[in-house]
């Protein structure tokens, strides 16, 4: 369901976010105690939401192949382990990943639009997106131009997202706000709104290249923006915190936030993702612990 221009809000108006209140709410979420069956369920759910990611200058075809195999077979020693949601790579590796993952149900996501800085001409960004889609990417993770945003050029961000969305065709669009560079929660809210009204299917916190990457307060503000967008339009936008979520305990805290902010309809890999690489192994370790009662050495879990 697309928005008509007349319903698009004036992005120069700031929706105030109270940082103290947000942090207090996050602290309350973190007191939730997740035990037994509900813990095992959540660990498996979290694993199925992982976008296994490799975004290094030193990436190689071999490394991408390994990661794809890991995505399809996270831990074959144990039954009923779900596959992860997607593998996230640079454009050059999309075709290889697509071939390796063929028929597995695991998606290929590609970063694009001059990731991670976003400093390139619109023309070359659009070309890059088209290239990724042609190569077979199911999902495009774009970055917004933070320089233009911080300048106050909100119309530019809107047009940029809308143009990329058009270039995506059937591919799903995730819009990376790089919240570590936006700095204030007011800005996070504003950038979320711009991205959603311009056509994002997902909004995503970070590239993982800037510190801080995903934080709970930032994620909560984005979840609340998604909630308001749903109240107004009836359209469900997905959420992807990325970077810095390394252990299962923290991942479960994110799921608690989703559960109590947006409800069960967002607790699926279609609506919520973790952008992470080391998280998967900690989730696996905790799943094995829940099922067998003992922790196993990290050497029992493949490091691909």
């Amino acid at each position: 369901m697309k928005q008509s221009v007349s319903e698009t809000p004036d992005f120069r108006k700031t929706i105030p976010i109270d940082q103290v209140g947000v942090e207090e709410r996050v602290a309350k979420f973190n007191t939730r105690s997740i035990k037994k069956e509900s813990k095992l369920y959540a660990l498996k759910l979290a694993l199925s939401m992982v976008d296994l990611t490799t975004l290094e200058g030193a990436d190689s075809p071999g490394r991408v192949r390994q990661l794809c195999y890991k995505a399809m077979h996270p831990h074959d020693r144990i039954e009923d382990i779900p596959k992860v949601a997607a593998v996230c790579v640079y454009p050059s590796f999309v075709r290889l990943a697509k071939e390796t993952l063929k028929g597995s149900g695991v998606n290929v996501a590609s970063v694009a639009t001059a990731f991670p800085s976003g400093w390139a001409t619109m023309k070359s960004k659009i070309e890059e997106v088209r290239y990724c889609v042609e190569e077979g990417a199911d999902e495009i993770d774009m970055v917004i131009s933070r320089g233009e945003f911080l300048k106050g050029n909100y119309g530019y961000i809107f047009d940029e997202v809308a143009a990329v969305k058009e270039a995506c065709g059937d591919a799903h669009l995730k819009v990376i706000l790089e919240t570590g560079e936006l700095q204030t929660l007011d800005n996070v809210r504003k950038a979320s709104d711009i991205a959603m009204y311009a056509g994002a299917d997902f909004i995503k916190t970070s590239t993982g290249k800037i510190s801080p990457a995903a934080t709970q307060p930032v994620t909560l503000v984005m979840l609340e923006a998604i909630r308001d967008f749903y109240y107004k339009t009836g359209t469900r936008i997905g959420m992807k915190p990325a970077g810095g979520i390394r252990d299962a305990k923290l991942a479960l805290r994110y799921l608690v936030m989703v559960r109590e902010t947006l409800g069960s309809e967002w607790l699926t890999p279609d609506m919520f993702r973790f952008g992470a690489s080391s998280l998967a192994n900690d989730l696996l370790m905790q799943i094995v612990k829940q099922q067998t009662g003992v922790y196993q050495s990290s050497d029992y879990f493949s490091k691909d």
Partner: protein, 493 residues
Amino acid sequence: MLKETDIQKKNRLDFSTGWSYDPAPESRDHITIKEQYGHFINGKFTKPIEGNYFPTISPSTEEEISQIAVGSAADVDAAVKSARKAYSKTWSKMSGRDRGRYLFRIARMIQERAREFAVIESMDGGKPIRESRDVDIPLAAAHFFYYAGWADKLEYAFPGRKPKPIGVAGQIIPWNFPLLMAAWKLAPALATGNTVVLKPAETTSLTCLKLAEIIQEADLPPGVVNFVTGAGDTGAAIVNHEDIDKIAFTGSTAVGKIIQKAIAGTGKKLTLELGGKAPNIIFEDAAVDQAVEGIINGIFFNQGHVCCAGSRLFVQESIADEVRDKLIDRIATLRVGDPLDKNTDVGAINSKEQLDTINRYLEIGLNEGADIFQSSCELPEKGYWCCPTLVANVSQSHRIVQEEVFGPVLTIQTFRTPEEVLEKANNTPYGLSGGVWTDKGSKIFNMTSGIKAGVLWANTFNKFDPTSPFGGYKESGLGREGGLHGLTPYLNI
């Protein structure tokens, strides 16, 4: 009455299906509760002179936890005699530094036994363990720490004066924050050199009696603190005792008025901390999602058994529908049930009697034509429970807007201008607390100086700190507790 799921609203969120949390009960293994408790007089647990006991029950299970002594006038007299002796022989003569050392010791011991206190508080009073663990017990310790620091600095608190203690203080506390209210009362009284006879509320005596164990272990001189348990008659015996110099009472406005009449002309000093019906005002320029959290925390904290609860919500008309819809979805996520479960947000109503009061008010509201809706929470079979409740379509003339319900019941009204909301906010016999939510600093100062209440919060609600004075205007009481102000009721300056 409507359930929240009956409300017609587009684009609802689903909080009832999918992943849910398994029970996560806090262990009760580490606590000890005796089968029977006497009074705590002159440093010892003593049997009641008339020999009567009453049961204290858990409001979440209706099970009897222990037997508590009924305090007679003779018991009160024994307690006052012991307090008087301790006052004149030891406590008033002790240096402030030494008094402070005892208080620091008590504070540390409360911290050390925090888990035990939290569990007993939740069992006996029904409040969620998350609150007793994170709010009640830490704050109780903090009050002792804070006033321990003042004990040897009273001359600096009141420069140029020679502050002297008053004598024996009679203190009567309510059931909503049992240990915390005991700490609020005891810490300043002891720091300033007074001795105390304190009566906990009849439904929640246990943590006070556990505090008596700490007081014993801390080697506080016998008689400095005395606890006499019982109900209204015991309280009356304290109020009317001739050798008490000061009464400090926290409770209902009705009882506060009786006490004020009773001690008129006796020369006893008095502080009262009574009821409230606080306005919580949301402007259209507020951070709405955080304001919604503030509304929830303002009224559903401790099942709404809070004298300063934000029970009257005023929302600017332009955002009234948005806030209402958000509140409806938010109360659906509140978990009501076993107070000892670490994931419980709203626990049990403190007593059958209080549940009847709340239900009576809901009926009054219905008869007045209010739209009342509750979250569709599943309630345990046993115990006293009330689902979080929103009351809309009401005005200043409705009794449910005027009177203190003391439960998880929020009335919702709208306004258009600051003048209008100020008039409505102040149009109440109470004046204990209030809240203002706006992103605009000047509006905060403008509104908070206009609201006639003793405690005001801006962009937050129900925040407590020992350094901050607390107390009411109008029928919400007189005198202040907490902070530097909290020393004055216990001193002749």
